[in-house]
Amino acid sequence: MASLVGSRVERKEDKRLLTGKGRYTADINISNQTYAVFVRSPHARAKIKKIDISKALKAMGVVEILTGAEIATDKIGGLIAGWAIRSEDGSEMKVPANPPLAKDSVNFVGEPIAVVFAESLDEAKAAADLVNVDYKVLKGVINTAEAMKGETIHDGIEKNLCYDWLLGDRKAVEEAFAKADKIIKVDLINNRCIPNAMEPRACVVDYNTASEEITLYTTSQNPHLSRLIMSAFGGVAPENKLRVVAPDVGGGFGSKINVYNEEIVCSWASKKIERPIKWVAERTESFLTDTHGRDHVTHAELAVTNEGKFLAFKNETIANLGAYARVFGTVTPTYLFGPCATGVYIIPAAYTNVKAVYTNTAPVDAYRGAGRPEATYTIERLVEKAAMELGIDRTEIRMKNFPTEFPFKQTLVHTVDSGDYVAGLQKAKQMSDYAGFDARRKKSEANGKLRGIGVSSYFEACGIAPSAVVMSLGCGVGLWESSEVRFNPTGQVSVFTGAHSHGQGHDTTFAQIAADELGVGLEAVDVVHGDTDKGTFGMGTYGSRSLAVGGIAIVNACRKIVAKGKRVAAKMLEVSEDEIDFKDGEFIVSKSNKKKTIGEVAFACYLPGSRDSDFKSPLPEGEEPGLIESSFFDPANFSFPAGSHIAEVEIDPETGEVKVEKYTAVDDFGRIVNPLVVEGQVHGGIAQGIGQALHENTVYDETGQLITASYMDYTMPRADNFPDFNLGFTCTHATSNPLGVKGCGEAGAIASPPTIMNAVIDALGGQEITMPATAEKVWKACKVLKKKNAKAA
């Protein structure tokens, strides 16, 4: 039987998703449901003096209106930060309370204050307009770089500083800098992005008055984690009385990791009003309240020799957390950022210092790549600049500093188990016809255009993560993953996973893995996820972890099934267990033609009835009936995908428009289970990264109003912004898991922003501009370049 792992199997889920048969949260309706509309703050920072709901309560169709006062009375807990980060001086991070409904103060535009439940959506909206909130408006703190100088947002959190974190050795870095031939410096802004999942957030809550169980249908990347947080911290209901279902979810990108205010409020309220509740975000609500991504201000320096050897690296970053610290909010700019900021290079000394600040803006949390895109942008801008200033070819300077022996002990934190960075960059050079660039540049110039080339090499730590490590770094839970595999008596297999698919294609890739392990057809395997009432437990999907952690739990559970099958088959075939080989779904007695299929064994495990008076149980003594196994997998290390991307852009100096002409990506994701799915992930990641580099930007005005809160003002990349992506792969197996897989979900978004920006800056003759490189900025830079060139001539 040919192996399914490694083959281009078409996605099983696409048929329903592409024919409109997906079942999303907003598709769910429960009879007698009420509709929720949230009253939100129009101010970035204000004290709430009074909330008057009297007029709204009398409005047509209103069932109930609840505010922060009731939440407080019922002692419903708030939203949480999942990682505890310590400052350089040893002090604990400062985290403000974040109640689900603001009671005394509001800290960003869109923060919910009250909620109206009505018989129809229109009635709920109309009544919400009648809720009168009296504010004392205060001066907001908006700008990332200036946040520490602003008024104190949260009582007791001085300078609006959550923590002042250090990773690395300042002294060693300073010593190395003193010996350097040259110091390369960059000042960078990693622009704030709004995740913009195609499906806006939504929840439908059904409280069962008989069983007192709450069922929450919601748009989550991690339903089990949501239940855990809502029970342990929210106090909404005990875990055994709370079922969280995340059905089809239309994209997450990190923005659906958090348990949000609306989910907590609606779950709590459903029990209170004893009615089902439906809430679906409008697009502007998504813009305002989904967790945003990135938003760093960085000064970084690289000490180099004249020959282009890297000696030391320093990184001083201010990271904007927004108004509150959320689940991955505090770890994203620290342990997901700092260790990767030295990139794929041997750099003997390094440090990263991050000051995380609160501002009166939407909370910032993980966004595709989470910390690693910011890290890669920092080091890859420095390296490209170093190549330019030293007059060394940009690929040569990289290869000069690549490690060639693995495992590679990276400067900060990680030991990278496997990789071949030289092979990746060489392949990318060859695939992109790097050598032919000069000719293409001349051709562009002949047409009055500017052409630039950019390279970036990255590695990332994903497959998050080894529990022992993440717990030692401050994570509130271990990040293992679980699976349960049920081999049904009639031959089909149900694979339950704690990972969650919201576009990743788990129905297909996980089925491929299980089908291979069990020797059954792909069609016999069903992957079940997204329901806390089904399967064991799970930490969910983020950090490119589903395959490298969740997939391995499936492998291990399948192997337990096979192991039990072997014991049962041995009894059935009347041989000893070690005489049996399992291959392609059959238990075969070596050197004989005696065999049992796994289907026959499974059937036997469930003890089918027999009229044979001589009946002997097929189960060995002490063996329990049934064929169901589970596994909790906790990897020994992160996994470390790596690669090199090369882009070419062409700029029209008359309009400033940047056209991506060529994009080559060579990635090492370890073993690839389904090339089709992996290519899709890489395409999506690159597109998202190019979006950040050229189009997307989140703008708050000086008073904290989000003025990019619709698609009129927030530019999403479109298909016609991209060339055909030229993808290639190298493969070194991960050693931390039996499949040798590494994870591919975020790599594209990690590598592409610096690749594109390096190309744009190259085209502009080294002139630095900030992301996004919009036509306006580029056009201005073209003017400067023209003047400079005229002067030189």
Partner: protein, 192 residues
Amino acid sequence: MKLSGSYQINLEKQKVWESLNDPEILKKAIPGCEEFKKNSDTEFTATATNKIGPFNASFTGEVELKDLNPPNSYKIKGSGNSPVGFATGEATVKLEDCEGGTKLIYNVEANVGGKIAQVGSRLIDMTAKKMADIFFGKFSELIAPELKVFKPDDGTQIQVSMNKSLENLFNKKLVYSLILIFLTFAGYYFLA
């Protein structure tokens, strides 16, 4: 946002000043105005209700006059609230004699928030500027006949610089809606 401009009204300064402090005239100049109340010599409240896009919004604006120096200048502090958002701001208004009448100069610093900012921010500067023009156009139209009554023996021809295209804009629903949104801004100008 910041906004500034000037307007020429072919009337003498004292008369312009008086008219700009007359609630009845101002009420007529404000689109959709239901109430324009003088709470004290320096405080006014204005209410207007209309459909603004998909919203059925009742806008309430509070206006306060400061640093009065009649008939030359003052400051106006205003704020307007509605379920679709709010606007707050301060305007300095100066009246200067000029050939054939009075020159009115305004400087506004204002902030808008809520849905107006989220959905319409790109239109705000442009619309506010247009609003100012529309308001003064309407205002001039309104005060011209009154002044004819008050000054029948004045032989000079009163010219009201009314822009016809602005008047047309005024009748369009979209602009009309936006006008309401920017009632607060208008507040500065009516009082000016």
